[in-house]
Symmetry: C2
Subunit: 322 residues, 2 copies
């Protein structure tokens, strides 16, 4: 939540000369996005978000992210639409960094989503997947099954410092997931990071989905599993089945899950929790105590893993096998 | 440049129930203001800045600041207009902190002001003073002459660490200013911190003046002296007389300085530079190396003091004694 690279008025004016957006009217750095610098930009023609990509996002991945956002916006899904410069390019260089300008989306992110929002989010995710069914871009999910052992390597001590005995639990999660991970399920472009702070609501509707920088090609149901972890847990790893059921019902109101997806849901949910636990563990261990941005505490996801380990089947998530 | 206190969607919705602004449409923390948390708020009725006051601003000073801003806006000067809640109160409590909602001003701050902007700023400052000529609020300038020895007490070592011999120079500045500070000049409400990042320009006009949290009652010409320091210096303490002359000419196009103000200008400029040097020295010395916000380097103002010490009269600033 910071502006890492500033853009002064002269740099902005020069950058905008490449676009057909008119002159700037207002420009402010905003506290949004953990990895990038984001600015609210208003010009004579509308309101936009200008993003500078800092080191974590690879430039070669940007065409996939921008293609996905453009595809969604073109289909009427409320994703930011990347704006092309006069030369047709969407990705440019501003202040020495890869940069894009996208349309601004209204709405507010829920701090603590309610049941109605979970249902709307579930239906929105199904619309998201449907809108992308003919999207041709492909990007490997480099934070999935094969990456997890590498992320955990050498971090047992850190895990046990967080909670005694946790390293053994994580090792058994890794083994269980290698054994049980589904070989094949319906696949496509997924968001893979659709947390409440990446969703905007306005007037009881989903008005925006942002932050596509973990998007990739993977099982559609894995996206649902990420959302269940992010939207349907209370503190200390307590699953709120009312919210989980609403999210799943919202999704299935547009695309009913296949029998294989239903059976796989618990293992996907456990895998999604492990993914966020592990990346948070790495950030936790590697961030100096005096860093500008404080990392998320990995324990939130260690506690969710506790729920997933004891889940006996899809019914425990509010999904009925009919 | 940060959001120190976050406001979630539920807290915002509850806070807005006290106002007649309609429902929120967009809400984002912005990287503006060093001392406070600022948010861009759009509602069904318009666009606003919501400010939470953190520890540096004293709650008892807020009525003066808000009164001044409201007075200016009422006179047609482009200052943010504080919005009263339905109960008539401008200052409320949101997220446990004193909070105000003001109108949003368009425009961009210049990183490196040009000559035209300096002239416009000078004229804008004269309009600012004129608009406040019937403002009745009073607030002592607690960062003026009598405060400076206290700010410097015990900091000789820190000054000499910045630049060998600097402490002696500062001591002689303090003595010279105690001797030469004017006893009486035209007084009124002044901004006292009108740096380029507190001024917005749009379409060749001054479209906004923000950040009133050092405003006070003092010599009007001291406000000009602050602006000369902030708008008309190059790096390494080199005075840009073209910009300084433009700023002064802009001011005098609306309010010619009195003979006493002209004569006092060099000592006021030296005092203004000392004020910013000293507060930056204190911040520099008191901010831990691992702090979230890095303080300004006091040397920028030590270098300006070097110019002021050798100035022989108002002509050195581009002001002619006619």
């Amino acid at each position: 939540m910071a502006v890492y690279t500033d853009i002064d008025d002269a740099t902005l004016a020069e950058a905008l000369e490449a676009y057909d957006l008119g002159r700037p009217v207002a420009f402010k750095g905003i506290a949004e996005g953990v990895e990038n610098s984001n600015f609210m930009l208003e010009t004579e023609t509308g309101r936009f978000i200008l993003t500078l990509f800092e080191k974590r996002v690879r430039r070669e991945d940007l065409p996939f992210f921008m293609g996905m956002m453009g595809h969604l916006a073109h289909k009427g899904f409320p994703a930011p639409r990347p704006v092309a410069a006069r030369d047709g390019e969407v990705i440019r260089t501003i202040a020495g960094r890869p940069a894009v300008i996208c349309t601004f989306l209204n709405g507010m992110s829920p701090r603590r989503p309610d049941v109605a929002q979970c249902r709307i989010l579930g239906a929105g995710l199904a619309r998201f997947h449907a809108a992308l069914s003919d999207f041709e871009g492909v990007r490997t999910n480099n934070l999935s099954l094969s990456a997890w052992p590498t992320l955990f390597a050498g971090r047992s001590g850190e895990a046990d410092r967080l909670s005694k005995g946790l390293a053994d639990h994580i090792s058994s999660d890794l083994r269980a997931l290698q054994d049980a991970w589904p070989a094949d399920l319906p696949r496509g472009a997924i968001h893979a990071d659709l947390f409440p702070d990446n969703a905007f609501f306005l007037g009881g509707e989903l008005s925006g989905v942002i932050d596509f920088y973990f998007a990739c090609t993977d099982f559609l149901a894995y996206d649902i599993a990420v959302c269940l972890n992010a939207w349907a847990f209370e503190p200390r790893g307590e699953y709120n089945i009312t919210r989980g059921r609403a999210l799943l019902a919202g999704y299935e109101s547009l695309r009913p899950l296949t029998p294989a997806e239903r059976i796989a849901l618990p293992v996907l949910a456990r895998g999604a929790a492990l993914r966020f636990f592990l990346t948070r563990l790495v950030d936790w261990a590697e961030t100096p105590a005096d860093a500008l941005v404080r990392p998320h505490n990995p324990m939130d996801y260690a506690e969710r893993l506790g729920f997933h380990r004891q889940a006996e089947g899809p019914a425990d998530y509010g999904l009925n096998i009919s």
